[in-house]
Every structure is written in C-alpha cells, then in structure tokens.
C-alpha cells in the first residue's frame, strides 16, 4: 500500500456501455465525502470506448477519471475487473472505494476487498465522515457505514478503523443524484490494459437483458402489499388498486418470499428503493427493512388491521381496517369521484 490519501473512488458500473444510475448517485455522495476529508473524487471506469461515460462522471462531480479501456473489458467479468481494480487500489491507496449494491457490485466488491484485505460493508443506506472514538483511540475522518441489520430490526453503524482502505456497497436509489451546474471538466488518466491468462477463465457466451421491465423507481404512484394480505388471492386487491389509480404494484420482502408478487417488485433493503409521489402500503407491518426502501415517499398511506403496526409511524395517512373491505371501498369511492 502507498501512503494514505483522502481520496474517494467510485467504481463506475456499465452494462453494455450504458452506465448505471447508482454510479452517478455514488459520485454525488462521494463528492461530499471527499470534500469533508479534503480529498478528491475519482471515477474508475472500465470498459470499451467509454468517452461518453467519462464525460458524464465529470458532470456528476468527479475530479478525475481513471480509465481502462479494451475490447476485453466491454462486458463486466469478475476476473479482469477484480484484478485491475485490486492492482489500482494497491498502487494508489484511496481512502474510500464505493460500489453500487447491484449484482455486479456485489460480485466485484468482495473480490477486491479480499485481494486488498480491506473492510467492506454491504448495502449501506447512508455514509458519513466523522471523527470517532473507538476502544479508547481517536480516529480522524472515518467513514461511517450505516445499514439496517438483522432483518431490519436495527440500524448498525460500521467502521473500518485500522484499515487504509474503507469499502462499501450502496443500494440503488438511496443517494440523491443531481448533476453540477455549468460545464465541468476533469482530468482523464488512461491506464493501459495488460491481459492476464486468468482473465479468460470465464467467458460470456450470451446475454439477455430486458431494460426496465418493471420500473418502480420512475413510478409516481406505488401500491405495495405485504404478508398481512394472507394469500395470493387477496394480493390481487393490490393489483386492482394500482390499476385504478394508474400506479405500479410492489411488495414487501415477506410478500415476495410468500410468492404473492415477483421479486423484481420488491421494495426495501434487499429490493428497490423508491420515492414516489404516493405510496400506499397495504397489509405491510413496516419493518425497517421495508421502510428503508420507501420512507422518502412524498405521501404515504398505510392500510393495516393492526393499529400498532410500525408502518403507521411513518405514514401521513393511516387507515385501520381489513384490506379486503377498505381497498374495494377505496376503489369505488375513487371511481365515483372521477365520474
């Protein structure tokens, strides 16, 4: 490892050359973290012909882009990406490295953390820089890695006090994303790709991707159902309400696990994070696991039989009642108003 820096790196994830939103969300957060430490923000871009993506990273706050381009890097593959990133970290010793908690990020980050023997915290929902006293020692500018833990019953703050490099993966949609004002340019540092026989141990034969099959993040109205609905038959009420209101259907983890709703519609810590204009939670008790994925919604309505359900604690409107009665009534009243 080199000498310790105050730099923040963000791994820029791309799928067939298209950058992932979460990478830009992380740049926006990373810029704040870097400023708090007096360091700079660097985007690490691997791929083939990435000029367009590199320019975008400057628009979202990167001071510098480390760019490794080669046809062999066009698609994400664990071995070359892991090797290259680990080597770069060993040479430059950034203070913080951030990844999206996507399938790619969760495949890559642990590999890199292991190779560089760095601490890694998965699925963070917040990141802060703070001076910390831990076990009678004082640490300047540590990264507080905040994540729900243990089924979402608690929020844990994780630190990596003794390691030069602190790594974290962050869920999509948790951090806000806004470009800088005006034209911004950063420094481009191109790094040559040196092939390694290990890179070719895994080859991609074919890839199928349907973009935005379900786009919960963009939906202005979301109706979400929970395990409290009791059956897949009752869950149909959620679809009915969403249909009536022109919204998207979502579910809690418990509803997904019970097979009421497909996994791509899961909202929460291990699903999608959303902030719609209106979020209606039906039969969702509101474990923090779920709340982490929807509490930023503009207006929240909760429908639950249990008046003590935690979901009421974060709702703007609470309706205590049985969903099988309340939801059809809601639809009926709404349809009458439209007439």
């Amino acid at each position: 490892m080199g000498t310790m820096t105050s730099d923040v790196w963000v791994f820029i994830e791309q799928r067939s050359g298209k950058p992932a939103d979460v990478s830009f969300e992380l740049l926006c957060k990373g810029r704040k973290l870097a400023h708090a430490m007096g360091g700079s923000l660097k985007a690490v871009v691997l791929g083939d012909q990435m000029d367009g993506v590199v320019t975008e990273t400057f628009r979202f706050g990167a001071d510098e882009a480390l760019v490794i381009e080669h046809p062999a890097l066009k698609q994400y593959r664990t071995m070359p990406y892991g090797r290259i990133l680990s080597d770069l970290i060993r040479i430059h010793s950034p203070r913080i490295v951030l990844f999206g908690a996507t399938i790619i990020g969760r495949d890559l980050a642990p590999r890199v953390a292991s190779a560089t023997r760095s601490g890694l915290t998965a699925d963070c929902t917040d990141l802060q820089i703070a001076d910390v006293a831990y076990l009678r020692k004082e640490y300047k500018n540590l990264l507080l890695q905040i994540r729900p833990a243990f089924g979402g019953n608690i929020v844990a703050t994780i630190i990596t006090p003794e390691n030069p490099v602190q790594m974290a993966t962050v869920r999509e949609g948790v951090m806000e994303m806004h470009p800088l004002d005006g034209a911004v340019a950063g420094r481009v540092t191109k790094i040559p790709y040196v092939p390694d026989p290990e890179d070719e141990l895994v080859t991609i034969i074919e890839q199928h991707r349907e973009e935005n099959r379900v786009n919960l993040k963009a939906a202005p109205i979301i109706v979400a159902g929970g395990y409290g609905l009791g059956s897949k038959g009752n869950f149909k009420l959620v679809y009915d309400l969403a249909h009536a209101l022109g919204g998207e259907v979502a579910g809690s983890r418990a509803a997904v696990d019970a097979g009421f709703v497909p996994p791509e519609r899961q909202v929460g810590q291990t699903g999608v994070t959303v902030r719609p204009k209106l979020y209606i939670a039906v039969g969702i008790s509101g474990a923090i696991q779920h709340r982490a994925g929807m509490q930023e919604s503009n207006k929240i309505i909760a429908i639950n039989t249990d008046p003590d359900a935690p979901i009421f604690g974060i709702s703007h409107y609470g309706i205590v009642g049985d969903a099988t009665e309340v939801v059809p009534r809601f639809i009926e009243v709404f349809r009458n108003k439209l007439k």
Partner: protein, 295 residues
C-alpha cells in the same frame, strides 16, 4: 466424477429477533436465537447433489461456526452429503466476512482435491453475499455468482446461466470454480428417511467428548475411531489444525467493526388517521386530488 465442497452456514432465524439478543458491543447473542440451515445454502447442497447424481463423485459439507452447528451438518448428511466438517474455534468468534473467508479458504485447501465449491448467494443474517467471492479470491479461483442453472458439465468445463441486472447471461468456465446459487435455482430435496436412520448418530469431536464424560469405560480416541469407521464422525478443524494466523481470524482479523447499533425510532408526528368509511376515504381522496397526487 466430481468432488464438490459445499459451504454451509447455520444462521439465526432473523424472522424471530427480539431486542434482548443484541449485546452491548453491537454483536448478536446467537445463543438466544433459534438456529436454522441458511436457506440458500440448502439450495447449494441440492445443486451439488444433482451433480453427484448425474456424474458420480462425492460431497463434503463444511461450516465455520460454534459447536451447535453440528445439528445443521447432520442435516447435510441426511440430504446426502458424504462427509461433514465443522471448522470451529473460540478464536473464530466475531469474524466479519474477510476473516470468515480466510478460515474457510484455508479449510478448503486442507480438504483439497475439489472440482466445485458451492454456496448460497447470501446468508439471511447478514445478507452481504461476500463470503463466497472472498473465499474464491483467496483460493485464486474463478467464480460464478447468482447462478440459476447448470446447463452442462463436460470434462473440465461447466456452462451455466446466471442472473444479471434485468436478465441473465450464459457463461462457460474451466474447473475448479466457486459457485453461489440463488434461492430459486433448484428445490432442495427432503431428508432421506434411510439416511436419517443411518446418520442420526453422527457426532462431532465435542459431542463424543461429552459422551465419554463421566463414563470411565469410554475412551475418546477409541470412540472417534469407531465413529470414523462407520462414517459417522463429523470432523472438527480448529485454528491449530489449520495452522492459521491468529491475526487473521475472528475479531482480530476483521477490519469492519460495529461502532453502534440503534433500534429504529419512528418519526411519528404528522400522521392523520382516516376512518375506513366511504366518507372518510372520500375526504382523503379529495385531499390527494387537490394536491394533484391523484386523479
């Protein structure tokens, strides 16, 4: 013929957590929680069993955990694993994923001679999905994470379908490889009644020692030998057995520390209760329409 090592973990049943299981240092008092076989690890074992069913070979299930993880290892034997190994030492306590992967990778090296390492994508207690890739890196192996289906195995080449964002990809990989499987990959088989009968007496060293305790006629070495010869010995590997660096195990080997833990305080306030009547719902819908949220 392929030898598969399956990484399994006994996890606290996170659906049943109460406040008093959290300790002051922010770690979890696992002894106070019901322990279960991590669901995706069970799927991983099923995947290994299917490879064995088709091509022959053997399956070794290993776990790093406290002595009571023997319960889960017996379940591995009931499903069809040929042998089960408990990697256990007080000095492993408090390990994060980096320290865990170090211990597991060294245990795997000691077992040796494998073609596949299977594991669940992630464990339900941490949801990190890190131990698989980290173990793979330490063994300098390629990895296939989020595996949905093995399409074919020909000689030293496996072709498999794995999940990616919004779809899937088909990859080809040279063996040996570490694979992590997702929940829906295959349906784990139930315990075989025959295997439950034949393996319910399987015991770890600690359990054999307990058996010998207070019975002067029983000698541990002799019992171990007897259990081993009947294929009922759950081998235990300790830090010393694996000649591990203590600085890389347990708390000492874990760069991440739990700094603080908070129960979540609900923001409350601002909430308005709505009567579930037509009038109540009508007023609410009017308000949402006025605010241009609905309609």
């Amino acid at each position: 013929m392929y030898h598969s090592i399956v990484l399994v973990k006994q996890v606290p049943d996170t659906a049943n957590i109460t406040g008093n299981v959290m300790q002051d240092d922010g770690t979890v008092n696992r002894a106070k929680l019901p322990a279960v076989f991590n669901p995706e690890d069970r799927v991983a074992l099923e995947m290994a069993l299917r490879v064995k069913d088709q091509f022959g070979g053997k399956i070794t299930a290993i776990t790093m955990g406290p002595p009571r993880a023997s319960d889960m290892l017996r379940e591995c034997l009931y499903m069809g694993a040929d042998q089960a190994i408990l990697v256990s030492d007080r000095k492993f306590a408090g390990a994060d994923t980096l320290a865990t992967s170090y211990v597991l990778s060294e245990a795997v090296k000691k077992i040796g001679g494998f073609d596949f390492i299977f594991g669940g994508r992630q464990a339900i207690d941490g949801d990190t999905a890190q131990v698989g890739p980290q173990t793979s890196e330490k063994l300098h192996l390629p990895q296939i994470t989020y595996l949905e289906e093995i399409l074919s195995i020909e000689g030293r080449t496996v072709t498999a379908r794995r999940k990616i964002e919004g779809g899937y990809e088909v990859v080809r990989c040279t063996l040996p490889v570490l694979v992590t499987v997702i929940k829906d990959a295959v349906e784990p088989r139930p315990f075989s009644a025959r295997r439950v009968m034949s393996h319910k007496g399987a015991k770890s060293l600690l359990e054999i020692e307990k058996m010998a305790e207070g019975n002067s006629l029983l000698y541990v070495d002799q019992l171990v030998h007897e259990f081993e010869s009947r294929g009922l010995f759950i081998k235990t590997l300790t830090m010393d057995d694996l000649k591990l660096d203590p600085e890389r195990c347990g708390v000492a080997g874990s760069p991440t520390k739990v700094f603080k833990v908070e129960s979540v305080v609900l923001s409350g306030g601002g909430r308005e209760m709505v009567e579930p009547t037509k009038t109540g719902l009508g007023k609410l819908i009017d308000k949402l329409m006025d605010d241009h949220i609905l309609g």
